[in-house]
Amino acid sequence: MSRDFHSVHSEPSGFLRRYVFSTDHKVIAKQYLALSMFWGLFGGATAYLIRWQLARPEAEVPGWGYVSPDVYNALVTMHGTIMVFFVAMPFLLAVFGNFLIPLMIGARDMAFPRLNMLSVWVFFLASVTLLASIFVPGGPASAGWTGYPPLSAKPEYTGVDWGLNLWILALALEFASFLLGGINFLTTVMNLRAPGMTFFRLPMLVWMQLIAAVVFMISVGPLIAGAVMLLLDRIAGTTFYLPEGGGEPLLWQHLFWFFGHPEVYVILLPAFGIILDVMSVFSRKPVFGYRPIIYASLVAGFLSFVVWAHHQYISGLDPRLAMPFSVTTILISVPFSFVVFSMIATLWGGSIQFTTPMLFAVGSLGVFIFGGLTGIFNGSAPFDIYIHDTYFVVAHFHSTLISAVFFGGLAGLYFWFPKMFGRMMNETLGKIHFWLTFACFILVFGPMHLLGLGGMMRRIANPLQYDFLKPLEPLNLFITIAATVLILSQVIFVVNFVVSLVRGKAAASNPWKANTLEWATASPPPHENFEKIPSVYRGPYEYSVPGASDDWLPQDRPLADAGAAAR
């Protein structure tokens, strides 16, 4: 039996099997997209409430009412949890990984299609659990998205009982879902590549998804153990994190950040994959330094495991440990500056076409440089004494994560939308969306660094309680207005998305003249992706090859004259 064995599967006909309990990686990707967009709206709403509370702490939030300190703490907790675990991860890993990995490697589906379906449904269960946690008596978790014990370990410290238990459960389910997904990604790429698709002919997106999956897999285990311990402290009377019973509060911080820092790269690397793929296509140039970028990303992934204590310089950790972690942290600038310089070099000498996806990709690079550079301030242990737990940190990680999730992810969505849905998105609306988002981003997160330098603490519901923060209030109002416009600008995207879905121009199979295999099949691809599994003759970025007639050379197109050489 050949591997085309798969093709005997006909497309399921019932609505449920086709759209709800589907094992098709493309349908599953769209399910993740729908869930992450739902959570994106939810997370955006929490951001709106947080911002207006800070802009006018003693007034009601427009359209909502008075926000009590309890509710405020719950809002910041939910905002962080939702944006990191229920927007960034499903969007960047599950949507693009699921949709593109089989298409890009020339496979008919994932290695374990039913496991794939299981992971999306476990994620759905996690979503339901998190939603339920908001409505149980006692209210939702309010110990911050980092959930530091003892605050999170005993109900009497927060007044939250089952809300926090369900929060832990929702996170555990989410981790399980992405572990299953990661196993699937890795196995699929190892076992199901099309003939000729060697590892060093994989598109960047596939490589970055693989590295992200491995980093996630290794980093999340200790936190799963830690989450079980936290839940036991809450419901079984154990004392892992409670000093009165011989436990250690800092243990959680180690377990959390051993995961938490690599997690940033789990989100960042897939975005890099998207940016590199998009940049190469619209510069009509090969990615500059394909292999070195992969090696640099592996180095960054490795280094992310030895920097976790930079979140804990002043946590009560032995001060002698701070400098070694400061050194490793600042060392991370080396692989990342390599990747960034390579991205800039990819633009050099190109024939750059600023379509919407390219705008978002270049915007993502620009924003990432900004966020990366402000990271140096945080990484330096002595200056972190001052800015730790201030808005400088908030501004920094929003810059890097928004670079990845927002600009990177949207670059990918605008770029692969024709492949996913068979229709083109509106370019004019897309460009307006980009420029508004980009301008508002600068207006929100530039000044936010100044809040942090002014000393404004994170997670305080009312900065007006402090005389030294009162001069910052106009700045807070300004940021809030810009953030509101930022949130409202997303309406343009939603309209563009929905209208294009229904009435967009029909997309050709390869509208951007790109090389990789997903463009070698119809838009949207048929049930088992390819009429016939393509054979691969070259790397993914052979644009503007001297001597070739076109400025693109698809991976699956045999060249009569260069056939032997290219193989």
């Binding site: 491995v214 153990a225 036991l232 892992f240 436990g247 051993f258």
Partner: protein, 193 residues
């Protein structure tokens, strides 16, 4: 399964996806136990009174359990060898033995727990007991999962369906060895120190 056409040119593809997947699954399990064990070691080194608490454990139960699990590792290897040779009768015998040994482990574990709880050593009795129940409990859950997997294969073998997917015995065996290896770490860390 004859792979003839050009679609499968890679050596890696000769590995069944189930096996590749299980290796990655184990790679994700190691950090879970690793995190728990590292937390235990670090906290224990940093404070006193743990050895006293540990002296209340029932060492003979743990020793018998170690013996049971090690024996079961042997029987699952023999089941794998039998399945590879396509002698499914023998495979079913060894799979059954593995299931029984695993069940024995859990039974003794239950005796051990109930004895400790009867003496007031509940999970809430102190930090050592918190770790003791979390570590051995998580391990026992893994044993349970392994028993279910092996039992499924045993039923397949008895009903003559194992011939369709004999490599699954190897995959189950990999998992079972992992469960054993975790115990090899837990046993000295908890009972011998």
């Amino acid at each position: 399964m004859v792979k003839t056409d050009v679609m499968t040119p890679f050596v890696e593809a000769a590995t069944p996806p189930g096996k590749t997947g299980l290796w990655w699954f184990l790679a994700s399990e190691i950090p879970v136990f690793g995190g728990l064990i590292a937390s235990y070691v670090v906290l224990r080194l940093g404070s006193s009174g743990w050895a006293e608490a540990a002296s209340h454990l029932n060492f003979s139960y743990a020793l018998i359990n170690t013996f049971l699990l090690l024996t079961s590792s042997m029987t699952i290897v023999m089941a794998h060898a039998a399945a590879r040779d396509r002698s499914f009768g023998r495979a079913s015998l060894f799979l059954g033995a593995t299931v029984l040994l695993g069940a024995g482990f859990l039974g003794i574990k239950a005796l051990e727990y109930s004895g400790e709880i009867a003496h007031g050593f509940t999970p809430a009795a102190g930090i050592f007991w918190s770790f003791y129940y979390a570590m051995t409990g998580l391990h026992a859950l893994h044993v349970l999962v392994g028993i279910v997997a092996n039992l499924t294969l045993w039923i397949d073998a008895v009903r003559g369906r194992l011939a369709r997917h004999p490599h699954r015995v190897e995959v189950a065996g990999l998992y079972w060895h992992f469960v054993d290896i975790v115990w090899i770490f837990l046993f000295p860390l908890i009972y011998l120190s």
